[in-house]
């Protein structure tokens, strides 16, 4: 935590090496988050680029209230949400997801994601953006519900509801698969 504060302090003093260290530390995890939320690697890379450029512009005036991980994850989630909205990303049904899965059997893609991650990406695509966001931020980025609520500017109860509804929906889908 202190190391992070020092890193942020150095970044605020416009240290390029501090910025580079922050980038190196979080880039892969944030890309994973962006890919999970957007389901498109090239768009995810664009989002990552925009998030870090925007972060760099704050050098000198940046104030960190929570953790850097939480801050950057929230930035990625917000931008991913905007991208999803702009391409009218609606929640898709299981049939559509299955079609997607059938179409996305690119070996390179599957090798990168791994079989399980690929399956999870398909399942998460069934959820509305808000529920997927909460689940991924909580379980992949290890953000608390309080942090997520603060970042999304909603109440903690709303966040917990979205989380529960999302998990329930996944459970129904998985149980349906088991029954077949």
């Amino acid at each position: 935590m202190i190391a992070e504060k020092i890193l942020v302090w150095r970044f605020n003093n416009r240290s390029r090496s501090a910025f580079q260290r922050i980038y190196e530390k979080y880039k892969d995890d944030l890309l994973g988050l962006a890919v999970t939320l957007l389901r498109d690697r090239s768009v995810a890379e664009d989002v990552m680029h925009d998030v870090f450029v925007s972060f760099a512009q704050k050098a000198g005036t940046f104030r960190l209230s929570g953790t850097l991980n939480g801050y950057l994850s929230t930035c990625v989630a917000n931008r991913a949400r905007d991208r999803n909205r702009s391409k009218s990303g609606k929640a898709v049904g299981l049939d559509v997801v299955q079609d997607k899965a059938a179409n996305s059997n690119d070996p390179a893609d599957r090798a990168v994601l791994g079989e399980r991650a690929h399956r999870l990406a398909q399942l998460l695509a069934c959820l509305p953006d808000q529920q997927r966001e909460v689940i991924v931020l909580h379980l992949h980025r290890e953000m608390s519900f309080r942090e997520i609520a603060h970042a999304m500017d909603v109440s903690i109860n709303t966040v917990q509801s979205r989380y529960r509804y999302g998990l329930n929906k996944l459970r129904v889908i998985l149980n349906g698969e088991v029954a077949q």
Binding site: R14, D28, G32, H49, A56, Q57, G60, H140, L167
Partner: protein, 143 residues
């Protein structure tokens, strides 16, 4: 029937491993450094007052100055108790400057000036007993 805990475990375990490619890293770092440079440009620190606030600001400033002057005029300066000797400064050299004597005269008249001379000469050392203030002033004026 899968429990919530198992689903949570499944999601955690399904976290994919992603790595950025070097081209992306290079582009992001380069553009970020450029953004950092841009924000590092010095900005002018002028106080910009919107036009609609300009007149009230001038009136307020004038009012503050006027009130300050009135307060300074009405409130008498502190060390003027009835029994106190007015004293401009304590150093003998400064006690005898024209400014100091002028202030003392305005505050306490000729008696105060005489007292100030006496204090100055006391601290400077022996002086001829016969000399008067009048003679001293005449002497100073000659110089």
């Amino acid at each position: 029937m899968k429990s919530m805990k198992k689903i949570e475990q499944f999601i955690r375990a399904g976290k994919g491993k992603h790595t950025t490619n070097p081209q992306m890293d290079e582009r992001t770092i380069r553009d970020s450094f450029a953004a950092m440079e841009q924000t590092a440009q010095p900005r002018s620190h002028k106080i910009v007052i919107p036009e609609k606030f300009l007149k009230p600001a001038i009136v307020a400033a004038a009012a503050i100055i006027a009130i300050g002057l009135l307060i300074a005029h009405w409130i008498p300066s502190g060390n003027q108790g009835p029994g106190e000797q007015p004293k401009a400064t304590s150093s003998p050299t400064r006690l005898l400057t024209a400014a100091s004597l002028s202030i003392t005269y305005r505050r306490g008249g000729m008696e105060a000036v005489e007292e100030q001379y006496r204090q100055a000469f006391d601290s400077l050392g022996p002086r001829p007993a016969a000399i008067t203030v009048k003679e001293l002033l005449e002497e100073q004026n000659d110089i």
